[in-house]
């Protein structure tokens, strides 16, 4: 085959403590959609970052139209025709659509000034290539557009770069059903125009709908390759590649599930409506839904960060509305944030200080930092030991630890407070595959000890495998509930079904 636009051969990449990719080979042809699938942490993002020049591979080579290339900066890959659309958009919210499209390469007119007229016209031309694009005004400030339209602008940006290779990283994460269809139509359009598309996802429906070929990554290696859209079960098998029963902890037995610890009735605020929720001691409740469906908002409302304005919370029989995380923690709720680095850890402080943070927060300002009401240094060290945290010393700065060990330190922090309800947001994001099982078993252990666990995850297999009960959210409401054994299709359907039909 000579129409391979991209060929990656024998790519190996190691980060301190983690082998992210080993000997991965991968290629894409013009006019095809190549699906790249795998669990979180399987190495998809690393592979793409090597392709686009963010990282440099330790071993292996990247060929663009048969020629070996070495990109050392994302700009170089972009100029060579490789555009990556990341999940975190790189748009400037304060600038117009046209200004964003031509960022860094604005068309110039007289005296070297920016030719705004031409910029606007060119933007119009690019947007008109797509059905939805025709409705976007080039002068509109990007921050005022909804998420789906912003994504359209990202894609238009890639097209305007004349990109021959377009990488989309889970582009439907924030979209509803109708928006997904428009995106698929756009992808079809790009394929017709001869673009090579690398499409990262772990949703079977999208693979079936779009993919010409599929490459499955697992633990940094290629686990399987398929020509044409394969049987979903085969993909799932290749993705997980092990005995699921062993990977996830066993479900709760009926006798392990106790009384309700947390009851919410009629809860609502700016982003939530009519929330009725019960969490029992000993069970793990999974919250599922597309990005922006209100899962995190619900967690933040329970935790008092963005409190409910309507309805009431009953915790252990006592009615309350938490106006701040402090109030929620005092009442017995703990939360493990989704973005550990920016919301969970104080990175420059020691492992022990991170563990002691909450006990100290609930102690007198002027008393000793070694002994607090909830825990002293000895107890925190015991909890850190119990979590089996691998660190040279608990005096070590926590930023040097791996993601899994950092996560465990936050768990130890909460355990010292003996919470009644623990909320995990994306508990295994950015965590080594091997450490994931540890987190699942840990959650189960905590539930067995009588805590109610709420887990929010964008990883469907994870929710299905780890939760005893799954609540599906859409547009700020809980729209469906599933017991153990629900299928991905069921949940996806509930999460994206048209609201009008449901109502």
């Amino acid at each position: 085959m000579t129409d391979r636009v991209i060929e990656m051969r024998g790519i190996t990449k190691t980060f301190p403590g983690v082998r992210a990719l080993s000997d991965v080979s991968f290629d894409v042809r013009a006019g095809e959609v190549q699906a790249l699938v795998g669990e979180n942490g399987a190495g998809k993002s690393t592979l793409i970052k090597i392709l686009s020049g963010v990282y440099r591979a330790d071993e292996g080579e990247v060929r663009l139209r048969g020629e070996t290339v070495h990109f050392s900066h994302p700009v170089e890959s972009l100029r060579a025709g490789i555009a990556v659309i990341y999940q975190e958009f790189s748009l400037l919210p304060e600038r117009s659509v046209a200004q964003n499209l031509f960022l860094g390469r604005e068309p110039r007119g007289r005296f070297g000034l920016i030719d705004t007229g031409r910029m606007r016209a060119e933007t119009r031309k690019v947007l008109d290539l797509f059905a939805i694009g025709g409705r976007i005004d080039p002068d509109r400030i990007v921050g005022t557009l909804d998420v789906a339209t912003q994504q359209m602008v990202e894609i238009a940006k890639a097209v305007s770069h004349e990109a021959r290779v377009i990488v989309m990283d889970e582009p439907t994460a924030a979209l509803n059903d109708a928006e997904c269809e428009e995106l698929f139509a756009t992808v079809d359009r790009l394929r017709e125009r001869g673009a090579a598309i690398i499409y990262i996802t772990h949703r079977m429906r999208e693979i079936t709908r779009l993919a010409d070929r599929v490459t499955v990554l697992k633990d940094g290696e290629v686990a399987a390759r398929f020509d044409g859209a394969p049987d979903p079960d085969a993909i799932v098998h290749a993705m997980v590649g092990r005995d699921i029963d062993d990977f996830y902890a066993p479900p709760a037995r009926a006798d392990e599930i106790g009384e309700p610890v947390l009851i919410v009735t009629g809860g609502g605020n700016a982003s939530l409506r009519d929330i009725d929720l019960t969490v029992r001691a000993g069970e793990i409740v999974g919250l599922s839904g597309i990005q922006g469906a209100g899962r995190v908002a619900l967690a933040m409302a329970l935790f008092g960060q963005e409190p409910f304005e309507r309805g009431e919370i009953t915790l252990n029989g006592a009615r309350s509305t938490f106006r701040s995380p402090r109030a929620a923690i005092a009442a017995g709720i703990g939360l493990l944030p989704g973005d550990r680095k920016s919301e969970g850890l104080v990175l420059m402080q020691s492992v022990r200080d991170n563990g002691m943070l909450t006990p100290r927060a609930f102690s007198s300002l002027w008393s000793s930092h070694r002994r607090t009401a909830a825990a002293d240094i000895g107890r925190i060290d015991d909890l850190l030991d119990r979590m089996e945290i691998r660190a040279a010393s608990y005096d070590q700065e926590i930023r040097a630890l791996s993601g899994g060990n950092q996560q465990k330190a936050i768990v130890a922090r909460w355990l010292s407070m003996r919470p009644k309800v623990l909320i995990f947001i994306e508990p295994t994001r950015g965590i080594d595959v091997n450490a994931k099982a540890g987190i699942y078993h840990l959650m189960r252990d905590l539930a067995r000890e009588g805590a109610g666990i709420v887990m929010i995850s964008s990883d469907l297999p994870e929710v299905i495998g780890a939760a005893d009960r799954i609540l599906v959210m859409q547009e700020g409401r809980i729209v469906a509930e599933f017991g153990r054994g629900a299928s991905e299709q069921d949940i996806m359907h509930a999460a994206t079904a048209d609201m009008e039909n449901a109502a």
């Binding site: 995380p325 104080v346 200080d353 943070l357 927060a361 300002l365 040279a392 010393s393």
Partner: protein, 329 residues
């Protein structure tokens, strides 16, 4: 790094060459240079006078390091000193007995100004740089307003006791200035609160990552306001000492806030928060005073002092950035 065996991997604790704060070797070198140029410095008269002169700055830096570690700046310290000195001269009104109540009033003003700074930052969400610059202008205006622009250049001896007096017949060192005792007590207390209490660890936490601290239940506002109050208190104490050995004027505190920030940064405090040490800030203040002393010996005029301080400030931060980049922070 010369790959010395003591430059060990992180986290093993204990003493290692790389672990020593560079401010201490710097201070040692400066002191050696001063002794070389003026052997009298090794006598109690020499170093006690040095400590006496360094005391206000050291106390100020120890307070400033709280605000820096919590992620902010306190630029109002200098004008607070001026307000304390001018206000004390107005309130005591040449009455030696008034000192007994004026000093507590001044300490309360220091705490109050700190509380206002903290409240502006926490509740009005004004970045501390702007907030404390605003307080700086306001306090300078208040000092003028209070004194009518022409402060009486006089404070009773009872008030000047803290900044000026010496305690004689002390074994070993012959005499100890009262200000040095104040220095030891105040810096000691601030060091204890920073490194041995929940407050200190939480000051580090909110400077390191305020979002994570809030989500972990840390009372972010209370801790931040406390940090500003301690900074204000330290400025009031420094003002009482300065009122003792300098006279009364409306520019007595001018520029001290920058010297305090420079001292804290020399001591390795990290701008925008997360890292800071009171003893090292003391080291920074002594080093800065030593540099100024050396410049004096060299016969360089006063303005040079400003230039040198500016260069030190930039160099210290640039060096810290360089070290951090190298160690991959």
């Amino acid at each position: 790094m010369t790959g010395s065996p003591t430059a060990s991997r992180p986290g093993t604790g204990g003493w290692s060459l790389a672990g020593i704060n560079p401010v201490w070797p710097l201070l040692a070198a400066l002191v050696a240079a001063i002794v070389f140029m003026n052997p009298g410095f090794a006598e109690p008269t020499g170093y006690m006078n040095f400590l006496k002169r360094a005391a206000p700055l050291a106390i100020l830096a120890a307070g400033q390091v709280y605000v820096i570690t919590s992620g902010g700046f306190d630029l109002s310290q200098g004008s607070l000193i001026t307000l304390v000195v001018v206000g004390s001269s107005m309130l005591t009104d040449n009455d030696p007995a008034a000192t007994a109540w004026v000093i507590p009033v001044m300490l309360a003003i220091g705490l109050g100004v700190g509380a206002v700074n903290g409240a502006i930052v926490c509740f009005l969400r004004v970045p501390s740089l702007i907030a404390t610059l605003g307080t700086m202008i306001t306090l300078n205006g208040l000092a003028f307003l209070w004194s009518g622009g022409a402060p009486r250049g006089y404070l009773p001896d009872t008030f000047r006791f803290f900044g000026r007096e010496l305690i004689h017949d002390v074994p070993l060192v012959r005499f100890v200035p009262v200000s040095v005792i104040v220095l030891v007590v105040v810096v000691g207390a601030l060091a204890w609160a920073m490194h041995r209490t929940n407050l200190g660890r939480m000051v580090h936490a909110i400077g390191d990552n305020p979002v994570a601290a809030r989500l972990a239940g840390v009372p972010v506002n209370r801790v931040r306001v406390t940090a500003f109050m301690l900074s204000g208190l330290s400025a009031a104490i420094a003002g009482i000492l300065l009122g003792g050995f300098a006279g009364v004027s409306t520019d007595v505190g001018t520029g001290y806030e920058l010297e305090a920030i420079t001292a804290a940064v020399l001591g390795g405090a990290q701008l925008l928060g997360g890292r800071g040490s009171v003893p090292a800030a003391l080291g920074g203040a002594l080093a800065l005073t030593a540099i100024f002393t050396l410049l004096n010996f060299l016969g360089l005029p006063q303005p040079v002092r400003q230039v040198v301080q500016g260069l030190i400030l930039i160099a210290a931060v640039a060096l810290a950035m360089h070290r951090r980049k190298r160690t991959g922070t």
